[in-house]
């Protein structure tokens, strides 16, 4: 497992089979151990990079003044704008409608190259998983308030599914629903959870297709996008399932 993890952290593009193997091996570990393994490997790579820089004095550079000024301006604007949301307890549990409505969903760039086949996991296995989370959908968007159902997700299995009833049918040739997964511990932007169509008849179930490994997601959101999904969504967030 460590060899695969080391390869991934070093920037190697793992073969599909290796990537799946790594994903399964990590999924079989307790969350704390999984995090520690990845974090430790990332720290080793980052410190080694710094160690090489320390030895290579000729490559030391001062941050250009224009870039510094831009960063400082951005940082101060961010502090003024988002200070309350940066505090962890709020960020973690208060992912409510105010933040959700203002949020622009940006599909992670890495998803483009990390798209891999997903192992199929059945509903029973997900529900029986020790770390399963189950969150109900809610909405205050006209036409979606009646939607019922929930999303279930298991970190250890890296699998989940969504149940819906009353979700307005889409026209598959024109638009599809897209799931977004919010995992703030690992990613700055929501992870693409796949596109799907609404069944016009009764309750239906859709498998979550997370494009990147996800750990302890704090929220899931559904938008309606052009067929095939989008890289950047302007929303609105039609449905949200969150801890807060």
């Amino acid at each position: 497992m460590r060899e695969l993890l080391a390869g991934e952290v070093a920037g190697e593009r793992l073969e599909d089979a290796e990537w799946l193997e790594l994903k399964e091996l990590l999924a079989s570990m307790p969350h704390a151990e999984r995090r520690s393994e990845r974090e430790g490997m990332e720290q080793a790579a980052a410190l080694a990079q710094a160690a090489f820089l320390a030895e290579d004095r000729a490559s030391w550079r001062g941050l250009p003044e224009d870039l510094r000024a831009r960063l400082v301006t951005m940082g101060r604007a961010r502090a003024a704008d988002t200070a309350p949301r940066l505090r962890r307890p709020v960020a973690r549990f208060g992912w409510g409608w105010a933040a959700a409505a203002a949020m622009m969903l940006v599909w992670l760039a890495t998803a483009v190259w990390l798209q891999r086949p997903q192992p199929l996991v059945d509903s029973e296995a997900i529900e029986a998983s020790a770390d399963v989370v189950s969150l109900p959908w809610s909405s205050d968007i006209a036409g979606y308030e009646q939607v019922r159902g929930r999303v279930v997700w298991s970190d250890s299995l890296q699998a989940g599914e969504m149940r819906f009833s009353g979700l307005p049918p889409n026209k598959p040739g024109e638009a599809q629903y897209q799931l977004w997964i919010v995992d703030p511990d690992r990613y700055d932007n929501p992870v693409d959870g796949g596109v799907f169509n609404a069944s016009p008849a009764g309750e239906f179930v859709v498998a979550v297709q997370a494009k990147l490994p996800v750990a302890e997601p704090v929220a899931f959101a559904v938008t309606l996008e052009q067929t095939g999904g989008v890289v950047v969504s302007k929303g609105p967030l039609l449905l949200v399932a969150s801890e807060g």
Binding site: E3, L4, G40, L47, A50, L53, L63, R68, M74, R88
Partner: protein, 200 residues
């Protein structure tokens, strides 16, 4: 020129000074500037070595600071120093950037460009890099292992590029990088455990 030299020793785990990231997480506007002034030269130097003259260097630095601002609340001194956290986040963004740009092809790396005019951060950088003793980290690696790891982690070459440059099979390069990194990880873990024991 402004003296942006950070206080020595502030970046070690368990150091008494309050980490900048804690202030960033609490929304302190001055902390945003402090973070840029303390780590900007370091992150920029790494990005320049990785991306050379490409605009990706500035983009990755910007991405790194955006990430640091948003993830500052997740920093925990018990899991490593602030410097380690900054380096880890910055490296993650560089790797993301390079993957996004599909530079892991057989392209020619953008290294060996003209120097930046501004070098006023050098003194601060020296203090920063001296604050963690990084040299022992690489001590157990052979010359060849160091060379391969440096080309990969520090200079951003793809495995294919390294193989071509050193006249080795790609599989050998891959294996050596993986194993060297595992060894570094092991050494780091031991030194962290010793450090914690020493600080008891």
């Amino acid at each position: 020129m402004t003296d942006r030299t950070p206080p020595q020793g502030a970046f070690l785990a368990g150091a008494p000074d309050p980490p900048i990231l804690e202030r960033v997480a609490s929304g302190d506007p001055q902390a945003m500037t402090d973070l840029v002034d303390t780590y900007g030269d370091l992150v920029w130097s790494l990005a320049r070595r990785y991306f050379g003259a490409s605009p990706l260097a500035a983009e990755s630095v910007q991405e790194a600071f955006l990430s640091l601002w948003s993830s500052a609340g997740r920093y925990s001194p018990g899991r490593g120093s602030e410097l380690t956290f900054v380096l880890t986040v910055a490296r993650r963004r560089m790797v993301d950037q390079i993957r996004h740009e599909a530079r892991f092809s057989d392209s020619v790396p953008l290294i060996g460009d003209e120097p930046d005019p501004a070098l006023d951060g050098e003194r601060g950088l020296a203090v920063l890099l001296d604050s963690v003793r990084l040299e022992p980290l690489l001590r157990d690696l052979s010359e060849k292992e160091r060379e391969i790891l440096s080309l990969s982690l520090y200079e951003g070459y793809s495995h294919g590029e390294i193989a071509k440059r050193l006249g080795m099979p790609v599989g050998t390069v891959k294996t050596r990088i993986r194993r060297s990194l595992i060894r570094l990880r092991r050494g780091l873990k031991v030194s962290q455990e010793e450090g914690y024991r020493g600080s008891d």
